[in-house]
């Protein structure tokens, strides 16, 4: 073999100039030892790549993403609550919904818990904290009976985005995967107001049906979509 090990490694790493690379390729055709050496290097590279690839496919944990996306500070001051209360009767716009969600969470079952299940990103209301975690990872087909957030259906909307309906104590709704976040397309009061529960569930089901682009995902498709980080197909 007329190539030293460093040159063979450089060849496999794509570091050689075209001329030398072609010489190696030609030589490997008639030199089984050289061909085996190249194959050995390629096999190691493939093994390492395959081993670490799944890490880059995992959904990025919310605590890391949150450092880079300016979230609405959750303000539970009285002024904010008043503002929020008024906003509920104003014509619906996202800001008002965000404010009322903050109110809903602040007055929810666990007022001492950090009220950080929603945030604002680029003018849209998105899931954050435990809600985002549930939407990221929890499977409708396999969720603990006492889960704080219950996933209803996972489906693709008419634009091909993955969407998931969810119910929790303070908030029900539908989140759709948009630019790596769960954009909350529909939100309604959660089961905390038990009187409204029936109405709320019906409303959620109707909204889900209206948004679906096809059939909801079955268990296998849901798992597959999650494992791929909810990226569009």
């Amino acid at each position: 073999m007329s190539f030293d090990p460093a040159t063979v490694a450089a060849f496999v790493d794509g570091e050689l100039d075209d001329l030398t690379a072609r010489r190696i390729e030609r030589e490997a055709e008639g030199d089984p030892a050289l061909a085996a050496e190249i194959a050995r290097h390629r096999a190691l590279k493939a093994k390492l790549a395959a081993h670490y690839a799944p890490v880059a496919e995992e959904p990025v944990p919310e605590r890391l993403r949150a450092l880079l996306t300016p979230d609405v500070a959750v303000d539970t001051s009285l002024a904010t609550r008043r503002e929020a209360k008024r906003a509920r009767f104003a014509p619906i716009h996202w800001g008002a919904i965000a404010a009322s969600l903050v109110l809903g969470l602040a007055l929810g079952l666990r007022p001492w818990a950090p009220a950080a299940s929603i945030a604002e990103a680029n003018g849209a209301v998105v899931a954050a904290g435990p809600l985002a975690d549930a939407l990221d990872t929890q499977l409708a087909s396999n969720q603990p009976p006492d889960a704080a957030v219950r996933i209803g259906l996972s489906f693709e909307d008419k634009a091909g985005r993955y969407c998931r309906s969810f119910e929790s104590a303070s908030l029900d709704g539908i989140g759709c995967r948009d630019n790596g976040r769960w954009r909350l397309e529909r939100t309604m009061r959660g089961q905390a107001g038990t009187d409204y529960r029936q109405a709320s569930s019906g409303e959620l089901a109707a909204a889900t049906a209206a948004m679906m682009g096809g059939d909801p995902l079955d268990a296998a498709a849901e798992r597959q979509a999650r494992d791929k980080g909810w990226a569009r197909r």
Binding site: P5, A6, A9, A10, D13, G14, E15, A36, E37, R40, H41, A43, L44, K45, K47, L48, A49, H51, Y52, A53, V55, A56, E57, E58, V60, P61, R63, L64, R65, L67, L68, T69, P70, G180
Partner: protein, 162 residues
Amino acid sequence: MRFEEELVELLPRLRRFARGLARDASDADDLCQAAIERALKSQGQWQQGTRLDSWMYRITRNLWIDERRASGRRGVHASIDESVTQIAGDGIAEVEAGTLRGDVDGAMARLPDEQREVVMLVLVEGYAYREAADILEVPIGTVTSRLARGRETLMHLLGEAA
């Protein structure tokens, strides 16, 4: 906002790199978190038009080295030759070729830090030798020699040796 958005896009790859360095998944995410915080603080030092990914990898790697030093574990102060001796002493001699077949984590853990980071940058992250040298702030010849040693050890342990 552009800066943060680019960082968000880098996160999946950065987590992979950190996992290779730190092995433990939550240690790796802690490392990423520290790197992001450092990057946000030193944003002014990043020159627009230069590669954000290289800059970010360098920050991550330097933080990791700092932490290794702080925790006083072995490997950081050791020169390459010492590390190789160490490996030869408590590793290869007792571990027969191919014993760790399939156990990439176990094999990577046996590499000295200097070799593991080069292996991650070139073989996993796909950086050119020149780019890896820039990230690590070492001469390119250092990259190729560490890579060669790391490769040999991995092939031996993973049973790739012919």
